[in-house]
Symmetry: C2
Subunit: 293 residues, 2 copies
């Protein structure tokens, strides 16, 4: 069977038109080269070289084969290099699902850094509602997800990458609305709007703990899944809420945001499927160290 070595030999020979010198360039002696070339010709059933005792020249078929062989060798080397690059995560695909908050906080700089370091990776970013993100990652629809730190999930790895403080959202007609800052104490008996325990347990937990640090149990009036929804409900004057600072960036009419004394923080986490071997993911993880609370 014809192989790539014979093509390499042939191309070198075609470039020198001299068996001896070609053999030298190929780091072998002349007889094996002669044999490989005539073997190639025999297997092709095509004479590629005209040999005189003085010169070796290419036949027409040889000229044709030379062009093609060069292209094949280039494609061959390219394939090997591409495999190495793919293995290093320099090419390929990386899909990241994220919740809206990430777009306001960690995602932009992370995406910029990653794309700068790995410009040939096809990065797909897609916003997803938080509660389906875990199953999307587990089902390999995404290589990674960015969401509020979930509890431990079987088959899922988690790494906190950013801690965002919470602030207080109140209706603009609320007594606290005129203040700049509030404390845990101020929230006693205030009807709270919180995230449901199953969709963002850490956010929920942070709120509850903050209340407990004020020495009372939170009075929860409403549960919603999205922070966005929560703030809208605050605007409707159905309660107050502790929401991530980044919510301030959005313009909500009828809502005032207050800073909190000893503000609790909520972790944004990078999550990925255990055993996901995508090298591009490996590189993403390498450039996003865990941050401590």
């Amino acid at each position: 069977m014809i192989d790539i070595r014979q093509m390499r030999y042939f191309v070198t020979l075609a470039e020198t038109l001299h068996f001896g010198r070609a053999a030298e360039r190929l780091h072998l002696t002349q007889p094996p080269l002669s044999r490989q070339i005539s073997g190639l010709e025999k297997e092709l059933g095509v004479k590629l070289m005209d040999r005189s005792s003085r010169h070796a020249t290419l036949t027409r078929a040889g000229q044709s084969f030379l062009e093609d062989a060069r292209a094949v060798l280039a494609a061959f080397d390219q394939a090997c290099n591409n495999a190495k690059r793919a293995d290093r995560g320099e090419t390929g695909e990386l899909s990241i699902g994220f919740m809206m908050h990430a777009a306001h906080t960690v995602l932009p700089s992370l995406a910029r850094r990653y794309l700068a370091a790995y410009p040939d990776v096809d990065v797909k970013l897609r916003e997803v509602v938080p509660n389906v993100l875990i199953e999307d990652v587990l089902a390999a629809r995404f290589d990674a997800g960015i969401m509020f730190s979930p509890g431990p999930v079987r088959g899922l790895e988690t790494r906190p990458i950013f801690h965002e403080k919470l602030c207080l959202a109140v209706h603009c007609g609320h007594p606290l609305a005129t203040r700049k800052i509030a404390s845990a104490h101020d929230l006693e008996d205030q009807p709270l709007i919180v995230t449901s325990a199953d969709s963002a347990p850490t956010a929920r937990k942070a709120v509850e703990e903050y209340c407990r640090s004020g020495g009372y149990a939170p009075s929860i009036r409403l549960e919603a899944q999205l922070q966005n929804t929560i703030v809208n409900l605050v605007a409707e004057n159905l309660g107050v809420a502790l929401v991530p600072d980044s919510m301030r960036k959005l313009a909500f009419s009828g809502v005032s945001f207050l800073s909190l004394k000893n503000a609790p923080a909520i972790a944004h986490a990078l999550v990925w499927r255990t055993g996901n071997l995508n090298p591009a993911l490996r590189n993403l993880l390498a450039m996003t160290p865990a941050v401590k609370a």
Copy 2:
């Protein structure tokens, strides 16, 4: 060194994702395949397959390599096929130089037939004045030439492919101009315009022999190189001429053409350089048998 065999093995394995079945399809047993694949991975420095005792799956790098390897194998096979086709003269180039007469006689059908049979050959047709065609062919500027049959030339092969009758061209005021047909006898003492002996010896010879068949020596007044020129000189009433029938196709004002009794013929010949190994030329020759006088 990685070779094409390992790529073939890998592609087959990637298509079956099963070492045993892939080996079967490759007409070998499983252990050598396992070894070749791990050898390939080792030489690339890249893991291409994830093996469990149940399934074999492609890594990301393996997926990348699979695509590239398929392209390489296709290019490889293409190169081999192209070489065979080039060797059979089905691809490549064929350059043909021809004199004007050929364009009125043999060339069109010949070119059509050839192109129909070998559509992938890049045929280059170029008109040349006859007296330089021989040296052009000898200098390999053309693979073949079509011209009035020259005498034997060292390094040149010749094959008559068409015999064209001569006719008589006279000025429209000439006494013979009213007739439809003339004989050798009628030309006695008529001043003849002929081609020079070096540019078209067979044409010249045909004229001289025709006169001798009438029992007299030709009286040559003028020599020119191109038949076109000759007819123009006839139009200027400087003499009469025996010219190829195909000259009738051209509209010359002031010239009448007469058929000749026992009209002599002149051979159009295909000429090519001795030892020209262009396979496309071989095919041209194969489809243009020599014709007898």
